[in-house]
């Protein structure tokens, strides 16, 4: 922990008065002596497994800072951190049923999900687009009629395609991958001609693929989505701690550094650089942190 983090943790402790009685997640963490982070296997570069099969990434780092804050508040320096791999399909039930305390992945904060779970302030903003093989010549949604299109099960890409004006009346043949890497494999092995997903994930999958030069991210932006760390609903004490920790990272400038480390520098496993500059939306969110859902982004 560097000085700044230490200071931050101190601030957090000051900001969150010790409750007479802990409830919810904090109580669970104290009782079990451990906190479980939900991690992804191929959500580049937010949360994925490196070549040692350890979870790494931008959101993993953010979560580790939150864990530091939890340790400080509960005065449990030896708190055990466990990892549970989750997928797009089971992450919400696993947070809901208590298996996972903090989901550090690539989850879009939207209104439907806010009925089931809560989100930390938005720490990343993504654009939903599609990856194709350059050789295919595909540049837009309306070229996909009758073609197989890969999606990750549990995500909403196909609904977004149908909802987009260029996707109206087009017959997409959906091909499912159980995680992003599986869906990308569909594109790589020509089972699908396009893979519709968050652009950062597509960029990450492309740089770590066998032949990065063969692929391009093309087409319309189907949706702008705030990505955030997910936690259980109706747990104000834990939410307050998480929010304070994340906002602290934003105010101290540490989030910028983490961003640079994961989006603008070489990252494992292949030491490739995504070169993915911070969007204006995220810059604005760091100035004015909030946990507003995707719907509020796409209204304008």
């Amino acid at each position: 922990m560097n000085h700044r983090t230490a200071l931050l943790v101190a601030l957090v402790i000051a900001a969150v008065p010790a409750l007479a009685q802990e409830t919810g997640t904090l109580k669970k963490i104290r009782d079990s002596g451990s906190i479980t982070l939900g991690i992804r296997e191929s959500s580049y570069p937010l949360s994925y497994l490196d070549d040692k099969q350890q979870p790494v990434g931008y959101h993993i780092d953010v979560c580790n800072r939150i864990v530091d804050a939890v340790k400080a508040q509960l005065k449990l320096p030896a708190l055990k951190v466990q990892h549970q791999a989750v997928t797009s399909q089971n992450r919400i039930p696993l947070v809901g049923n208590g298996t996972v305390d903090l989901e550090c992945g690539s989850t879009t904060n939207n209104e439907a999900r806010q009925k089931q779970v809560a989100f930390a302030p938005t720490t990343f903003v993504t654009n939903v687009r599609m990856a194709v093989k350059k050789a295919s010549g595909i540049r837009s949604l309306d070229q996909l009629n009758g073609k197989p299109v890969a999606t990750t099960t549990g995500t909403t890409s196909v609904q977004l395609m149908r909802a987009h004006e260029k996707g109206k009346g087009i017959d997409f043949k959906e091909v499912y991958g159980k995680d992003h890497a599986d869906a990308f494999l569909m594109l790589e092995t020509d089972r699908a001609v396009a893979f519709v997903m968050d652009d950062n994930l597509l960029a990450g999958l492309i740089v770590s693929s066998k032949a990065p030069a063969d692929y391009a991210i093309v087409g319309e932006v189907l949706n702008v989505e705030p990505i955030a760390i997910m936690l259980r609903r109706d747990d104000p004490a834990f939410k307050k701690l998480v929010d304070a920790a994340v906002i602290g990272l934003m105010k101290s400038g540490e989030l910028d550094k983490l961003y640079t480390r994961w989006f603008l520098s070489p990252i494992p496993p292949k030491n490739a650089n995504l070169n993915f500059p911070m969007s204006d939306q995220l810059k604005a969110l760091i100035k004015a942190p909030n946990d507003a859902p995707a719907e509020s982004f796409n209204k304008k």
């Binding site: 919400i92 439907a112 549990g154 609904q159 159980k178 092995t189 699908a192």
Partner: protein, 245 residues
């Protein structure tokens, strides 16, 4: 933890479209039945043939039959699904491979049905071999003495009796096919287990979802059991000890 029961959930529309959750489950049941029944047909045809091969006097045929059974019995079904879906097409010539991967209609279904059919055929073959082995040697000899060729003896004398004897163990294999078809979710067949996972994620009513799907599987297995019992009663070999139906 409080759980909010909502049995009306099945009639509610899904979040992302205009179908209801019930529609999802019905689609799922349809694919489960399609995969299971196709696979069972494949398993019976291949299983009976391979099982019979393993009882012939030819060393080579026995070895081929044994190899088939050991190959499909000793690799987990899930891994076999991946082998057929991801690995097998890579061995085809480029154009064929592309066709299989992009244009072949219902490719997930065909892959799953073939894979489950081959997997089950090794189990059927085991039972058929045991059934043939349990026949008195005299049946075989008498058939040959009557001037039947070996092929004719199998077709008219040995297999008709052996198959009727092995109906009880085949019943449990038939029930297993429905259960094993659930593994097909892993390669993207939209069958019941796939729909259950999707519905639980979309609706947040996990308990209702899994209860309904469990019940549907139970009904499938039970129906399979009754159908086989009916066949068993109709085809009992006269003169053998058998449980009354």
């Amino acid at each position: 933890m409080n759980y909010h029961w909502n049995w009306g959930i099945f009639l509610e529309p899904v979040k992302s479209g205009d179908e209801t959750y019930l529609d999802w489950l019905i689609t799922g049941l349809g694919w489960t039945l399609a995969v299971s029944l196709t696979a069972w047909l494949i398993a019976l045809c291949i299983g009976i043939a391979v099982g019979a091969l393993r009882t012939t006097p030819s060393r080579l045929l026995v070895m081929l039959g044994n190899a088939w059974v050991e190959l499909f019995r000793n690799i987990p079904l899930l891994v076999q699904m991946f082998l057929w879906f991801f690995v097998a097409p890579e061995f085809l010539p480029r154009e064929w491979s592309l066709w299989v991967k992009q244009d072949m209609p219902a490719k997930e279904f065909i892959t799953a049905a073939l894979c489950l059919g081959f997997f089950t055929s090794s189990r059927v073959a085991e039972q058929v071999r045991a059934g043939v082995g349990s026949l008195p040697r005299g049946q075989h000899d008498a058939a040959l003495a009557l001037g039947l060729t070996l092929g004719q003896a199998y077709r008219h004398v040995i297999l008709p009796q052996a198959l009727r004897i092995v109906i009880p163990p085949l019943t449990s294999e038939f029930m297993n096919v429905f259960k094993n078809s659930s593994v097909a979710f892993a390669i993207g067949v939209l069958e019941l287990t796939f729909q259950a996972r999707q519905m639980q994620e979309d609706s947040e009513q996990g308990i209702e979802t899994y209860l309904a799907v469990t019940l549907l599987y139970f009904i499938c297995a039970f129906t399979a059991n009754r159908v086989m019992a009916l066949i068993e009663a109709r085809t009992r070999v006269p003169g053998l000890i058998g449980k009354p139906a």
